[in-house]
């Protein structure tokens, strides 16, 4: 079979199954079956072998562990402590609760590696509070959903672990590269909140005293050092990313169980189950997506694809925009992890050909996929926030689009000026590049 036929069968049946509402992971696997049957050189066991190979990766273990650490932190009441800290630092700005929402998302992103947990945890606390103070529901829901996407950009990040593991890029380097765009994103979003607050006359609270700030900081500081332990431990070479994730689990168990005394046997058991089941649903997809990607590679589809794109004579900047556009488009319809496996491996040769730094390629991909978390029809963070706010997705879209504009500017900046993301890893850990 030639690359054209193979991609037609694979992508065609995948798209059809998705429209019929077959789960993404199953649709990817089922789309492979016709090829295995039609091509006499193939044996169907390869599908299972490819799946097994993709799961048998030590690095992926970090995914359930980072989820577990975040769940344990959540169960220890960390979110309330972070909200108090945010209130004491940015609560007095116009649109106080909006700023608090963004800042808590940023702080929590440093503990958790996924955005959906952030949206659920922070939204259940902040959306009712914002509604009560007279903020529009659509704005409260939109800012919760959009700010939660920092979870996949600020380290630790599950998407970066998958990306780094798959394409053999240093995960420590990716984590460092995510810090600056994460901070910038928070800053840009707070700017948007400020403008909203000025136009819509959102309430202003009193400024907290230095003493209150110190008090709130001391109560949250033990949780706030988690990202430093994780990122520091990895870049200084103390642990591998997987080991760092276990250290985060042990640390949050001690913090929640012995110091804050909020986690008992029940909470621990529940956190274990929740983390394992969410991780396995996300990671099961990796198996079928890898088989799908393996077939694409076997029939040299990425090669043809790059040849086709390369014929336009693209440079690094055009390539950056192509990468961003491709991930933005696919991220609207499928989960980020299979998108990385299929599209990431297809575009990697193109990025290499034009000399784009692999870390820049990854960060452009991750930021673009972050948009997919808040864009319908498959925007998990948006769906979660909407259900928490009791509002339909269509009524929130306008605010979501407005809040996404600064994020889009950030994405364009990262494409045009790679130094924004590369200077930090270059400065702190040149060995990782």
């Amino acid at each position: 079979m030639n690359p054209g036929e193979v991609s037609f069968i694979l992508f065609g049946s995948f798209a059809l199954l998705i429209v019929l509402r077959v789960p993404v992971s199953f649709a990817l696997g089922l789309a492979c079956i016709p090829i295995f049957i039609l091509d006499p050189r193939m044996t169907p066991i390869v599908l299972l072998q490819e799946m097994w190979k993709s799961y048998n990766a030590f690095i992926l273990l970090a995914v359930p562990f980072f989820l577990l650490a975040a769940n344990l932190m959540n169960a220890s009441g960390i979110t309330e402590r972070l909200v108090n800290l945010a209130r004491a630092s940015v609560g007095h700005l116009p649109g106080g609760l909006g700023h608090i929402n963004v800042m808590v998302s940023m702080l929590f992103a440093g503990i958790s590696g996924s955005s959906t947990a952030d949206a659920a945890g922070i939204g259940s606390l902040m959306i009712p509070a914002m509604k009560k103070q007279g903020y529009d529901t659509s704005f409260s829901v939109a800012i919760t959903a959009c700010s939660s996407v920092m979870g996949v950009i600020i380290p630790p990040s599950i998407l970066m672990i998958v990306w780094g593991g798959l394409m053999s890029i240093s995960i420590g380097g990716l984590f460092l590269a995510g810090i600056v765009p994460g901070f910038l994103m928070a800053l840009f979003m707070m700017g948007t909140v400020y403008i909203y607050a000025k136009i819509r006359n959102y309430p202003i609270s009193e400024r907290s005293s230095l003493r209150e700030f110190g008090n709130a900081l001391s109560k949250a500081v033990l949780a706030l050092v988690t990202p430093a332990i994780i990122v520091g431990g990895i870049i200084l070479g103390f642990f591998t990313p997987t080991e760092a994730s276990v250290v985060a689990v042990l640390y949050s168990t001690i913090l929640g169980g012995l110091i804050y005394r909020k986690i008992g046997f029940r909470e621990f058991e529940k956190s274990l189950y929740d983390s394992a089941s969410l991780a396995s649903v996300s990671l099961f997809c990796i198996g079928t997506a890898s088989a799908f990607g393996w077939l694409l590679a076997y029939y040299r589809v990425p090669h043809e694809f790059v040849g086709f794109l390369g014929s336009f004579g693209t440079g690094p900047i055009t390539t950056g925009f192509i990468v961003a556009f491709a991930f933005l488009a696919i991220g609207m319809f499928i989960d980020a992890i299979p998108a990385i496996i299929i599209l990431g491996t297809m575009l990697l040769p193109l990025a290499e050909k034009v000399g784009m730094h692999p870390i820049q390629f990854a960060i452009i991909g991750v930021i673009s996929l972050a948009f997919g978390l808040v864009t319908p029809p498959y925007g998990l963070c948006l769906l979660i926030s909407c259900s928490l706010g009791g509002i339909k997705v269509v009524h929130v879209l306008k605010d979501v689009i407005i809040i996404l504009i600064p994020m889009l500017i950030l994405l364009i900046l990262v494409i045009l000026f790679p130094e924004i993301i590369l200077f930090l890893p270059r400065w702190l850990a040149p060995g990782l590049l």
């Binding site: 429209v19 019929l20 394992a276 396995s280």
Partner: protein, 164 residues
């Protein structure tokens, strides 16, 4: 039948929780042995952790079919009648069923291959991990019996409004 399926699923949930708890141990041993002299530096820790992890993914994927928790994408407009809702669900469940048959049939062959291999570090027979694949196939088929019979009931019903 229903109570058997429910009990089996509850068993899987307990197993998943225990595995998730257990898997912390080998990775912790790895770190502790590197930085202290308390325990020797075992070479099997990483491999044991990886194999448990494969089981976690597969068991989680089994339960997710029972819970309808695998991610799907809502592109079609809302179903107008119970009947059309039933037909849609049936299509999804049949598709998962095809995958389940594939996993069951080729999974057994895969596990047979595993019987002839041992792992590199700890010498575990690979069939003990590969068997998770056919087992996932069988479990999905078991869960689908209940789901498909529910779909058929929906299709036969004459109510106009979907309950979902």
């Amino acid at each position: 039948m229903k109570s058997f399926i429910d009990r089996y699923c509850r068993f899987l949930r307990v197993l998943l929780t225990l595995l998730m708890c257990f898997i912390i141990v080998p990775v912790s041993i790895q770190i502790i042995s590197r930085y202290t002299g308390l325990i020797p530096r075992y070479i099997w820790t990483e491999e044991v952790a990886r194999f448990c992890f494969v089981w976690i993914v597969m068991i989680g994927a089994m339960i997710a079919v029972y819970d309808d928790a695998h991610f799907d994408v809502d592109l079609l407009p809302q179903a107008k009648t119970q009947r059309s809702q039933g037909i849609r669900n049936l299509v999804v469940h049949v598709a998962i069923g095809i995958m389940a048959l594939f996993f069951s049939y080729y999974g057994i062959k895969f596990a047979q291959l595993g019987f002839m291999q041992s792992s590199e570090m700890s010498g575990i027979n690979m069939a003990s991990i590969y068997i998770a694949f056919p087992l996932a196939g069988f479990s999905w088929l078991l869960f689908l019996i209940e789901k498909i019979s529910d779909d058929l009931k929906l299709i036969k019903s004459r109510e106009l409004k979907p309950t979902l």
